[in-house]
Symmetry: C2
Subunit: 214 residues, 2 copies
DNA sequence: GTCTATATGGGGATAGAC
DNA sequence: GTCTATCCCCATATAGAC
């Protein structure tokens, strides 16, 4: 039997992903969860703290999975440094698989990640960026090891593009349907991971043609 | 002298980009514009129609610029087909330059584009996708001409990644500051365009390693 | 075209009984 | 932990005078 707290988290995740944070009222959430209006404030204190809780529930395990994969690749590689392809896969694979797993929020949670940045003022942006810092500390040095030819500026720009391609793939599968006229979809996560990694690794490895200003 | 209508559009653009659509009230908008509350409904009919108007004002000229650039490249190329690099530049260049031009909404409008997709229910998503269709009709055949080796499915996935990298670059310059520890920024749009094009063209051209299912 | 005043409805949060 | 009832505030939209 699911607890009141869990039902609130589930209903909130679903409604926030469909309607946005501001457009979703606590009355809608409690009604959908089949619990009393006052239970929300009792368990979470406020609507804002509920929003944070919705994110924290998914983000922790996701990032642990990414770090665990990276570590496994490190141990299995000679020299202790995983290949660029393997490390990019460790970063984007868990996220894309999560986005197709209905038991862990599936597509809903990925839509929410997009919203975290584009609908500010709920404290979520900070939460997500803080979680990201831990990833950066572990992943960036590995990337840098394979991309020593790039200037520092170009290196970070490339990371930025990588994040963009990944975020868009997670959050915008509906737009993929649209641009492809229906011929592509995300139902095969492993193929999507492969395609994303192909694209990103080639982009990261492109020669650095932009002069850094002196 | 700016008209009431323009002042409402400017204030709305600014507030929507900072706070989101639902969180911004018509009272805030009219107060910031220094006009009467009722003027908003008089000129635009409703808050929703104002939102659409904010987008339509910027999106039309932007896409015309992109199509114009593509056409110019076509005329200047032998055979009438511009290079992959030139056509990608025609697509992403105007958007990145716009995002740095305060006279045309600058960064504000780019944040709004992100919000258009992540805060639904205001009719904006449809508006943006409709505008995008015209771009697709002109740009996609050129891209396909240079990427004949890819399966159709992989081709559209690559376009999807291209859009992701572009959208993220436009909307998320603050996150670039963050991931780079402050060493990168968007103040030099031409360098940013160059870096984005380098990354994207290399990604598009990567060999197709994913088997299409039979 | 612009204003004031108001109609009408919903929002988040809480006090206090059970 | 859960409920009811309620406080107080703000939302969008419009009617009707100027």
């Amino acid at each position: 039997m699911s607890t009141t707290k869990d039902r609130l988290l589930d209903s909130a995740e679903q409604l926030f992903s469909r309607e946005g944070f501001s457009s979703t009222s606590v009355r809608q959430i409690t009604a959908a969860a089949g619990v009393n209006l006052a239970a929300l404030n009792y368990h979470f204190g406020s609507k804002e703290q509920l929003i944070s809780a919705v994110f924290a529930r998914r983000l922790g395990p996701l990032n642990e999975e990414r770090l665990g994969l990276l570590e496994r690749c490190s141990r299995e590689s000679e020299g202790g440094v995983p290949s660029l392809r393997a490390s990019v896969t460790a970063l984007v694979g868990p996220a894309l698989r999560l986005s197709q797993d209905p038991d862990r929020g599936g597509e809903r949670f990925m839509l929410l990640m997009g919203r975290a940045f584009s609908e500010p003022g709920h404290g979520v942006e900070e939460l997500v960026l803080r979680q990201f810092e831990e990833l950066a500390q572990r992943f960036f040095p590995v990337f840098r090891h394979h991309l020593g030819d790039l200037s520092e500026e170009t290196f970070f720009w490339r990371i930025h593009f990588l994040i963009g391609a990944m975020a868009h793939t997670m959050a915008a599968s509906k737009r993929l349907d649209f641009v492809s006229g229906g011929c592509c979809s995300l139902d095969n996560p492993e193929a999507a991971v492969g395609r994303l990694v192909d694209f990103v690794v080639a982009g990261l490895r492109a020669p650095d043609r932009v002069e850094t200003k002196p």
